[in-house]
Subunit: 340 residues, 3 copies
């Protein structure tokens, strides 16, 4: 399925091995020793490939597929071609992920420090790290085991990274404590001073930004995203948060566990998201708000008030999502009546 210029394929694997890997069930008559060489979408898969039916709208693709095998759910399934071997699983999409990772595992990290990296003598680099050309590791910085610091990434003085972090090319990090297995994609900016200014006698006076950025384990931070450090106190990103590209997170923001922030959203200073909050693309949050557990904001929403746990809002200014839909309809009706 994947271009061999960019992805290395493993295998082949027996159908039985793959079925076991996903806790799947084969039909009794199927040959468990059949070798499967790749995983591919229904419309592209051939006799040596395993495919996947994860969306019932693909029933016609399923009917016509020439795949050798297919991941399907345990319930009723649409009619497929005769001879197609079925692997019945609880969750076909999770099973697809498992198999895709079997055929195309992430390349193992080749440890080593490029001679063109700049590492301060008192920085501590964990066993098995890879530091690429042009990377800069500041004084007293600490990197856990098996971290990868990409080309030209800059880790500022005193920063701490846990094990197995992946820091992309050209990322800059300062004033930050970062957990394990954190992935930061190219060009993200972590730890620059927050946007704090007050009117003074001679123009705007800078408010000293004396806090940090604290990022917990298993966080993903998108390309060119910016996360400012706290003014007094920290900017906090909870375990398992997933942050997309070009997101702005201002000083002293707190994200609970497992929050999802889609591209180009912005969160103003000191706003707090409880666990599992979801912000759609281009959402904007005012400062000093509280969003309760599991709250959701539809794309482009502009939130000016707190949201209770489980609340779902949309629009700018944001209102409960049903009200937003009603407003949208009411406005369309009003325009028809008045405009025609």
């Amino acid at each position: 399925m994947a271009d061999p210029r960019f992805f290395e394929r493993r295998g082949p694997f027996s159908l039985e091995f793959l079925a076991n890997a996903v806790g799947g069930e084969l039909d009794p008559g199927d040959d468990r020793t059949t070798l499967i060489r790749d995983i591919a979408p229904l419309n592209l898969a051939g006799a040596d490939d395993i495919s996947f039916l994860v969306d019932k709208r693909r029933a016609s693709n399923f009917a016509d597929t020439t795949a050798g095998a297919c991941l399907v759910g345990r319930g009723a399934i649409p009619p497929g071609p005769s001879g197609l071997r079925l692997v019945r699983v609880d969750k076909p999409y999770l099973a697809y992920i498992r198999l895709a990772n079997l055929f195309y595992p992430e390349p193992a990290l080749e440890a080593g420090i490029d001679r063109r990296a700049t590492i301060e003598p008192d920085a501590r680099i964990g066993v098995g790290c890879r530091i690429d050309a042009g990377a800069v590791i500041g004084a007293r910085a600490e990197l856990g085991e098996r971290c990868h610091v990409g080309p030209h990434a800059v880790i500022g003085s005193g920063c701490v990274l846990g094990a197995d972090c992946r820091i992309g090319a050209g990322v800059t990090i300062s004033h930050a404590l970062i957990g394990a297995r954190v992935r930061i994609w190219p060009g993200a900016r972590i730890g620059q001073p927050g946007f704090g200014f007050v009117p003074g006698a001679r123009g705007h006076e800078r408010v000293p930004q004396l806090g940090r950025v604290v990022i917990h384990d298993d966080v993903d931070i998108g390309a060119n995203t910016t996360i400012d450090r706290g003014a007094a106190g920290d900017t906090l990103i909870g375990t398992g948060c997933i942050i997309d590209n070009l997101v702005q997170i201002a000083h002293n923001v707190t994200l609970g566990q497992g929050c999802i922030v889609v591209a180009q959203a912005g969160i103003s200073g000191s706003t707090r998201l409880d666990d599992h909050v979801v912000l759609g693309g281009q959402v904007g949050l005012s400062d000093h708000l509280k969003l309760g557990k599991g709250a959701r904001v539809a794309a482009q929403g502009g939130v000016m008030r707190d949201i209770e746990a489980g609340g779902v809002v949309g629009g700018s200014p944001a209102v409960p999502i049903r009200q937003w839909h009603r407003q949208t309809l009411a406005l369309a009706r009003l325009a028809r009546r008045k405009g025609d």
Copy 2:
């Protein structure tokens, strides 16, 4: 016109040479051998300069100009100073571009590979390329002839670039096949994994991102813009697309030929734009949409439904542009009636 610290001027050129270069017509009595030294706006041009009248609102500037010559359209023109030599052309703005490029051509590329660049031994670098300090070219990457890779740009393993590409400082490219004459401005991020996560047993599970970014010829990509690679299949940017700064293009998006995407717009996963679609600044598109040929979205529009060919929409959620204007007016009237 241009600061000699940054732009090198050619010339002088005879008036006849310039008129011929733009297919322009001089008045019979004018001295075709007059030397013209520069091109400048009406209010700044002097006796040795050629100027341009491209906007009728500049009639008063035209009346007062001290330029030696001026590009004008072939139709009626406002009254100008006596002695001003006119060069009548079909399209004064295109003629301006032609002459500006004559006086200020792009500097020729000086070929050479900086000794501070890092180039893997099996990368293939075309004749006449320039590779700047700190650039990194990965294994098996291929660059066409006369490409310029700016300082600290990173071209990942296996990437292919056509001839005459310009890759700005600090750009990162991975998992990408790129055509000829593509320009990517500083800080753009091409080919990082798309934003694909599904709820798993232990938090969000990453969906493997096994596709590529495929960029056709003559594309322009703005500074700090992000284009993610496909999940299964590719993210595609068609020939001649023009993408501004800070744009987000998610995995598996397809842009047809000649699309224009203005700054800070965002396109969600798998959405398809047909040829010549135009997105205004800060527009957001939902995922899995289809925008027909020549569709246009006004700035800040939020599109949640398909748009037919030639459709023009605005607002969030976006509606046909006339309806949006009616809604805007109706809402203003409603507020006046209720609020006063």
Copy 3:
């Protein structure tokens, strides 16, 4: 208060010294020689610390604080603990900034040019500059005294920077004249060509971008922000402007003095902001607009018309802020009536 891994603390200072530093008044009986070791928020401060009451909503923190001293306003204050020494000042927040800068001054710049920097022979580097690893300084560029150019920052040929500028890691600057004490945070992109294209015979034709970016003194430019150079003429940023992260400023935009542009706002080509204009987060301005002195746009506002001096607008399309509030209320009422 601040993490010693990232911030170096000065002191201790006598209470009298600190009071004098902020023009503050101590109560007659207080011991002026008491040593104060740090500055901290009310709820974290101990007996050796000075704290600050800048927000009356903190009255309960003030009542319970164990701080040794506290900055307060000169007027009535809420009841505090006995034994707390008060330093009465005109503006407690400005006094806090003063003291925070005393305890945690910005580190002095250590002059020096890293051997891994690339500096063209005819570039002029002022006395006391610090140029970090991987920085690139182009031909004929001029840096004033005591500038700091961070790792991998690229200053293009002919650019001029005044004294005491701070250029962050990975910043790129070209075609720019920059004043004194300008701070540009990591990843900002200054001086790439503006977005100028016109329909030509064979696709979009590029309009030559022959202008510059001119940035006056004491400007602050956020991380990953983009400022394009002018087409013919300059993009201008006035003295003391404060620009947040991920902002887009198009070609030929003019900002007067002391403007504030919050994160992810975008300003289209040739729009002019008079002095002290404030744009909220994610605001978008159309091209060729004029915003009068002190005009303000609420977050996510989309401005399509000029704004007079002192005008305050909100919404998309933006209307006077009171009208926007009325519209919001009217729409909510309309939806209730029609929808239920």
